[in-house]
């Protein structure tokens, strides 16, 4: 019964996210509205983490699995990708690396500046 209730809450929030996605004309997906809703409800103490703990732990735990079907879908766009393969592959790899390193270093730099000011 506990798990049933938890699952229902999470599905209801996903559904509300869908409703907002339909009503608001921006390309923001249901899941992002759902995160905001759940965060807001937790912050306002309308919901407690205990109300969704086990099911949310489980869903986050299986998350990598949920990406597999769309990743396997790469085989269907292979021919399109092949047309400018070098450009696409270079951009994907290089930009991911550049953004990860630059963002990490910049954020860390601001954090450390802040810490120095405090001490």
């Amino acid at each position: 019964m506990k798990l049933f209730k938890q699952f229902t809450i999470i599905i209801f929030l996903s559904f509300l996210g869908e409703v907002l996605h339909t009503l608001i004309p921006f390309p923001i997906p249901a899941s992002i509205y759902g995160i905001m809703l759940l965060f807001f409800l937790l912050e306002r103490n309308v919901l407690r983490i205990d109300d969704i703990r086990e099911v949310s732990d489980f869903l986050i735990f299986i998350m990598p699995l949920l990406f597999i079907p769309s990743a396997v879908g790469l085989i269907d766009v292979w021919d399109e990708l092949r047309a400018s393969l070098t450009a696409y592959v270079t951009i994907i790899i290089a930009v991911t690396l550049i953004v990860m390193v630059a963002t990490g270093r910049l954020t860390q730099w601001v954090l450390q500046n802040q810490k120095e000011k405090e001490t």
Partner: protein, 230 residues
């Protein structure tokens, strides 16, 4: 037999679970960043479909039921974020600065590479949303007139790269602060990277989750501006 593959409800789900499970077991034996259960499952599922001549559509008729859980699972990322509310409040400035710069850096580097390779406008806007979460990325690519299928591919590949190499990249480039790691991973490789960030620690996971939402939303605005620059 072939007809059976195409109508089975559980075949695609089963082989996905099976290869993922096998990958998880192997990961405990082989400790190497490339021994990633998700990557393992993707590679072996593709090989399996190729070997038996099964169409992706037939596989996905069944496997799509796994993908249905994506939205509820993403919604649950609010839980680690809420648990780390104090961390967020304390580091608010650094977090906002990090996420905003990441969006600008993504756009600028895609623009630079597009110029370098002489890409046409459609290919360029296809790559602009490559680092954000799939549903927002699809929306951006559609609106700007990119090739949506390739955008999806680039998003998935960015995510896989982040998931596999995030830990190594952070070590090699001296990114040690958990908050900085989380922002770096979430901004460069969205939910797929976040899965790795959550394994690294709750602060990392929470900051990465926040980055998915904020970097995604900022990209919607930034991409429409940058689309006019090529």
């Amino acid at each position: 037999m072939k007809v059976f593959w195409e109508t089975s409800t559980f075949f695609g789900i089963f082989i996905t679970l099976f290869f993922y499970g096998a990958g998880t077991v192997l990961k405990q034996k082989i400790k190497h960043p490339l021994m990633n259960p998700m990557l393992f499952a993707i590679v072996f599922t593709v090989l399996f479909l190729r070997l038996f001549g099964i169409e992706y559509q037939a596989y996905n008729n069944s496997a799509k039921y796994i993908s249905y859980l994506m939205t509820p699972a993403t919604v649950c990322l609010a839980v680690p974020l809420y648990r780390q509310l104090d961390t967020l409040k304390k580091n608010f400035k650094a977090v906002m600065f990090g996420i905003t710069s990441s969006v600008i850096i993504t756009m600028l580097s895609v623009l630079a590479f597009a110029r370098f390779f002489g890409l046409n406008r459609a290919s360029y806007v296809t790559m602009l949303p490559k680092s954000i979460t799939t549903p927002i990325g699809i929306g951006v690519a559609e609106e700007l007139g990119g090739y949506v299928a390739i955008t999806v591919a680039s998003i998935v590949i960015s995510g896989i790269l982040g998931n596999i190499f995030a830990e190594t990249v952070c070590n090699v480039f001296g990114i040690q602060e958990p908050v900085a790691k989380g922002i770096a991973i979430g901004c460069s490789s969205h939910a797929l990277g976040t899965v790795k960030a959550l394994e690294m620690g709750e602060v990392e996971g929470a900051m990465s989750s926040l980055s998915i939402a904020l970097a995604g939303i900022l990209t919607v605005a930034a991409a429409s501006v940058f689309a006019t620059l090529l």
